[in-house]
Each structure stands twice: as structure tokens, then as C-alpha cells.
């Protein structure tokens, strides 16, 4: 009798899967906007410092803990912490590793549907018709203009695309690690990079698109993005450090519970050091090397600085860029492949968000793949319907993204790094990390992982909370606190009912997850007793 255990089929496959999980919309939309906003020089210094002391160390940590947990047959964060800590409370520490990917999936798949919808609409020519109001199109397509307005199923509506991406995601996740996730990433990641290179060549060869505006040329566009500005002043700005560290943190998907789950399907002697570094490097190449040269320079060339400043991630991607492509030679084709690129980046990420949930349900409740896919499909569908209906100003999406996709993520990453450096112990963790390793991690990272990364993470989290929750004005001498919209929406004079409902959904999901962890703990405890008796 042989028991079937899933595993990756190739090393490149797992690297592309981890990289695919990390490469998302943020690489092509959020990063360039942040770098341009804070001035290229100081931002990039803070960005690379954060990469070295937060991004890469946590990636190694997650890979190591995940592979170690996989030896005991666990693939979820809760299960891995149970095996690692051997304490009744251990499994509860990992609950965020279930909540975060599942709840992020609920709204991320909605954004993924926008990407596919925009790609199809661009291909059909609808986005390049004369007189299109892109803000209006975005408001109607995404439902940002009012609750319930996106609940339609025409070609110019999000509904049909949401159904398609939902079916695609669950089809591939049902097929499993190798036939599903690995297969998709093996094709999607090289395709994504190839498309990005094609668009990059197009952008860099645009010259001066409008002869009447000679200042808006390719060099000026690159300068807008990369000119260093006042580096010394920039580095003294805590908001810049917060933005740079946040970008690294969210871009690499550390703390999601995804990398730890993916690594748990590795074998004992599979390398995690070089593989983790390669996945991080792939993400950085897509973000800095491709994303940094495409979106902002292109937008500047056609719309000037005024067209970019103040645009968030969605504004840049779904309002500004369609207009840029409409003015570009062969813009219809480039718009189609650009949104296809975003869709590929999104689907490799959304698939990764489902796997921790699937793994937890299967090993915690002892259910088969069909049942786990059905249960997770039902839970995530409820959340996605909620985000889809309560779409005015994207309030539900934004609220869940803030409390789950940002705050909980910080907490989970801090737990991970503390467990590795202080609970497992840096020397033991080092030894486990280097089993089967094809390169050595420089010893300086022992100090970084044990002291600097946790301290940096906590400092950034405190600063983030002070700014984004309590509304600190970043002044020590004349500190002022004006609670932000995220707090005002919940307990302010004029609370927002959608924000309150969204937080209610998070609370219900957290209670539901804790109950599941409790049930899983009983299953695992029985298993532990059987193991002890056998030895």
C-alpha cells in the first residue's frame, strides 16, 4: 500500500510558482507609482535595504519552515506550527496563514476579473473608441460608481469575467500542485515576461509621441521615474521608508502563508536557499527591471506629470493606461497584451492564495480534494459576492484589503520571523535551511534574521499603524493624531455601513477559522498519540 503525497515535479516549477505568487499587479502598477512619488534615488535606496533585511530573509525563513513542516505531512501554516512548536497554542498562531490568503482571494479574484475584462474589451476595440470616458467606464465596469451596478453579464460588464476566472482558478487548484499550479506557472510566467519585454520595447521606442509637446518624450518619461531628487532629505522622511518597506513586503508576498505552503511540498534534500533567492530575484526583475520602465514613463509621455500625480494603483492601471494606449500607435494591440499580462500576473497569484486553504481543509478536517475545493469555493464565493455587490467607491474591497491584506500580513510575517529566529533558534534554523542547499546564506544574515528583521518589521508596523490607523502627522515635536477613514468608517460620527459589514465579515471569518483550527487540532492530537504508540 502506498499513500499518495503531492510534491513538485521540478525545481524550476516550484521557483516559477513562488515567483508567480509574488508577481502581481503591484509590480507593474504600484511600484512605479511609489518610486515616482517619492523621488527615484532615496526610494530605491530604502527599497533595496528593505529587500535585503526584510524581503529575502523572510522568504528564506518561510521556505525553510515550510519544507520542515512538510516532513511531518503538514502543508498549512497551522499544521506546520503545530508540528514545529508542539504546544496546544501553536496551531492557533498559524490561523492567520489561513485567513489572509482566503480573504485576500475574495477580492483579488474580482480585480483579476477586471484585468481579463479589460483585455477582452481592449481586444474588441471598445477601449479605443473615440470619446471613451475611462473614469466612467471604470466606475461602471468595477461597480465603483455605486453598489450593485456591476451585477451585469454583458461584454462590458465584470460579471461574465468573474465567473470565468472563478472557474479557471478552481479548475486548476482541483488538478493539484503539479498538474494545476505548476503547469499554469510554467507557461504563464515566461509568457508574462515575454509580453512585458515586448511592451517595454514599444515604450522605449516611442521617441516624442506628440510633436506639439516636445518635453514629453521617452527621456523625460524615464527621468520622471528615475531622477534621484534630493536623496539626503528623502532618506530622512519616515513615510518614504514606510512606503519602500511596504512595497517590498507586499510585492514578495511574504507572510501570506503561500510560500510556507508551497515549500511544504518540497522534499527534505530539495534546496530552499537558491530557490528562494531565485524566486525573489524573478519578482524583483519583473518589478524594477520591467515594471519600472513601462507604466510611469509611458503615462508621462502621453499625459505629462499632471496625468500621473495622485493616481493610485487602480487609477494608473485602469484609468490612465487605457487612455495612454488609445493614443499610442498600434495601441489596441498593446492595450490587449498589457491587460493580458496583468491577468497572467493575477492568476498565478490567485491560485497561490487558494492552496493554503485547500491544504488546511484537507489535512485539518481529513476531507478529500473534491470536498475541500467545494467548501473553499463556497466560502470564497460568499466573500466575492459581498465585494462585488458592495462596490461603491470599492469600499468593501478597500476595507478588507486594509485590515486583512495589510495589518494581518504584518502580524503573520512578524510571527514567522520570530519563530524562526527565537523559537526554533537561529543555529537550528540555519542548519535546516542549509540541508540540500546549493549555496550558503552569508553568516551576516544570522544577525539580520534574529535581530534586525524583527526590529525593522515591528518599527515599520508601529509607524504604519500610527499613520494609517491613528493618523499621526509624522511630527515628534508637534505630534497630532487624526484617526483615518479606516477608523472613522467604523466608530466615527458618520460610520460607513459597508465598512462595518466588511469588518463584520472579517470577524466571522476569523471565528470560523479558529473553530476549524480547533477541530483540526483534535485530529492532529489523535495522530500524535498514534505516532507515539508506534514508537
Amino acid at each position: 500500500m502506498a499513500k499518495i503525497q503531492e510534491a513538485w515535479s521540478s525545481r524550476l516549477g516550484v521557483i516559477l510558482a513562488v515567483a508567480g505568487s509574488a508577481v502581481g499587479l503591484g509590480n507593474f502598477l504600484r511600484f512605479p507609482g511609489q518610486a515616482a512619488q517619492y523621488g527615484g534615488g532615496a526610494f530605491m535606496i530604502a527599497y533595496f535595504v528593505s529587500l535585503l533585511i526584510v524581503g529575502i530573509p523572510i522568504c528564506w525563513t518561510e521556505c525553510t519552515l515550510g519544507r520542515y513542516g512538510g516532513r511531518f505531512g503538514f502543508h498549512s501554516t497551522s499544521g506546520i506550527f503545530h508540528a514545529l512548536l508542539r504546544k496546544p497554542w501553536g496551531k492557533y498562531l498559524g490561523v492567520i496563514g489561513f485567513i489572509v490568503p482566503v480573504m485576500i482571494y475574495m477580492y483579488y479574484v474580482y480585480i483579476e476579473a477586471w484585468c481579463l475584462g479589460y483585455a477582452v474589451n481592449a481586444f474588441s476595440g471598445r477601449l479605443s473608441e473615440p470619446g471613451v470616458n475611462y473614469g466612467e467606464f471604470f466606475g461602471r465596469f468595477t461597480g465603483a460608481s455605486g453598489d450593485g451596478v456591476a451585477l451585469h453579464f454583458g461584454l462590458g460588464d465584470v460579471g461574465i469575467f468573474l465567473v470565468i476566472v472563478y472557474l479557471l482558478n478552481f479548475f486548476f487548484i482541483y488538478r493539484g500542485i503539479t498538474k494545476g499550479i505548476e503547469t499554469v506557472c510554467k507557461y504563464a510566467m515566461p509568457a508574462l515576461i515575454a509580453i512585458a519585454v515586448v511592451i517595454l520595447v514599444r515604450v522605449l521606442t516611442l521617441g516624442t509621441p506628440d510633436a506639439a509637446k516636445p518635453d514629453q518624450n521617452v527621456m523625460a518619461g524615464l527621468g520622471f521615474m528615475w531622477n534621484p531628487g534630493d536623496i539626503a532629505t528623502g532618506l530622512k522622511n519616515p513615510q518614504l521608508w514606510l512606503a519602500a518597506a511596504g512595497q517590498i513586503f507586499f510585492s514578495l508576498s511574504v507572510g501570506f502563508g503561500v510560500i510556507i505552503t508551497y515549500a511544504s511540498y518540497l522534499r527534505k534534500k530539495d534546496d530552499v536557499v537558491l530557490s528562494g533567492l531565485t524566486a525573489s530575484a524573478t519578482n524583483e526583475f519583473c518589478e524594477v527591471g520591467l515594471g519600472g520602465l513601462i507604466t510611469v514613463p509611458a503615462a508621462f509621455m502621453f499625459l505629462g506629470a499632471a496625468g500621473i500625480v495622485g493616481q493610485g494603483t487602480f487609477g494608473l492601471g485602469f484609468n490612465v493606461l487605457p487612455e495612454v494606449f488609445a493614443r499610442m500607435p498600434a495601441g489596441q494591440m498593446f492595450a490587449s497584451i498589457f491587460f493580458l499580462l496583468l491577468f497572467l500576473a493575477a492568476i498565478t497569484s490567485s491560485l497561490s492564495m487558494l492552496q493554503p486553504g485547500i491544504a488546511f481543509l484537507e489535512e485539518g478536517l481529513g476531507i478529500e480534494r473534491k470536498a475541500s475545493v467545494a467548501l473553499l469555493g463556497l466560502v470564497t464565493a460568499i466573500g466575492t459576492m459581498f465585494v462585488w455587490y458592495f462596490s461603491a467607491d470599492l469600499k468593501a474591497l478597500d476595507t478588507i484589503d486594509f485590515w486583512v491584506g495589510t495589518v494581518m500580513l504584518f502580524v503573520q510575517a512578524t510571527i514567522l520571523i520570530i519563530i524562526f529566529g527565537w523559537v526554533v533558534g537561529i543555529e537550528k534554523g540555519w542548519k535546516i535551511a542549509h540541508e540540500g542547499a546549493e549555496m550558503r546564506i552569508p553568516d551576516i544574515f544570522k544577525i539580520i534574521i534574529k535581530y534586525i528583521t524583527p526590529a525593522f518589521l515591528v518599527a515599520i508596523f508601529v509607524m504604519f499603524t500610527l499613520k494609517n490607523v491613528f493618523g499621526w502627522n509624522f511630527s515628534f515635536s508637534a505630534a497630532e493624531f487624526n484617526p483615518t477613514g479606516y477608523v472613522q468608517d467604523l466608530v466615527g460620527d458618520q460610520p460607513n455601513h459597508v465598512a462595518r459589514l466588511s469588518v463584520g465579515l472579517i470577524v466571522i471569518m476569523t471565528i470560523f477559522s479558529l473553530l476549524l483550527v480547533n477541530i483540526a487540532g483534535k485530529v492532529w492530537a489523535k495522530r500524535d498519540i498514534i505516532e507515539k504508540e508506534n514508537h
Binding site: 524550476l12 527615484g40 537558491l274 530575484a281
Partner: protein, 51 residues
């Protein structure tokens, strides 16, 4: 685009590109999988029990 902008661009894009190419090169020239796995890894019942 100022000289500082060029330096910033070349250092940033150069660093991530070199790191990416070096990593991929190391992965591709590294040892091949000792046994080409199928999409599943069958385990002996004993080993599965230990897990």
C-alpha cells in the same frame, strides 16, 4: 533625464537583472533531480505513518 537618473536607473535595473540572470544560471546548471518525479510522490505506508 539627469546623470543621476541614469546612474539610478542603471544601478537599480542592472542589479536586479544581474541577480535574476545569475540565479537562473545557477539553477539551470545545478544538479538535476536525482529521480525525475512524476506529479505525485508515492510514499511507503511506514513512512506515511511516521508523517
Amino acid at each position: 533625464m539627469t546623470t543621476g537618473g541614469w546612474i539610478n536607473l542603471i544601478l537599480s535595473v542592472g542589479f536586479v537583472t544581474v541577480l535574476f540572470v545569475w540565479c537562473i544560471w545557477r539553477v539551470l546548471r545545478g544538479p538535476k533531480d536525482p529521480a525525475k518525479l512524476a506529479h505525485i510522490e508515492p510514499l511507503d505506508e511506514d513512512e506515511a505513518e511516521r508523517r
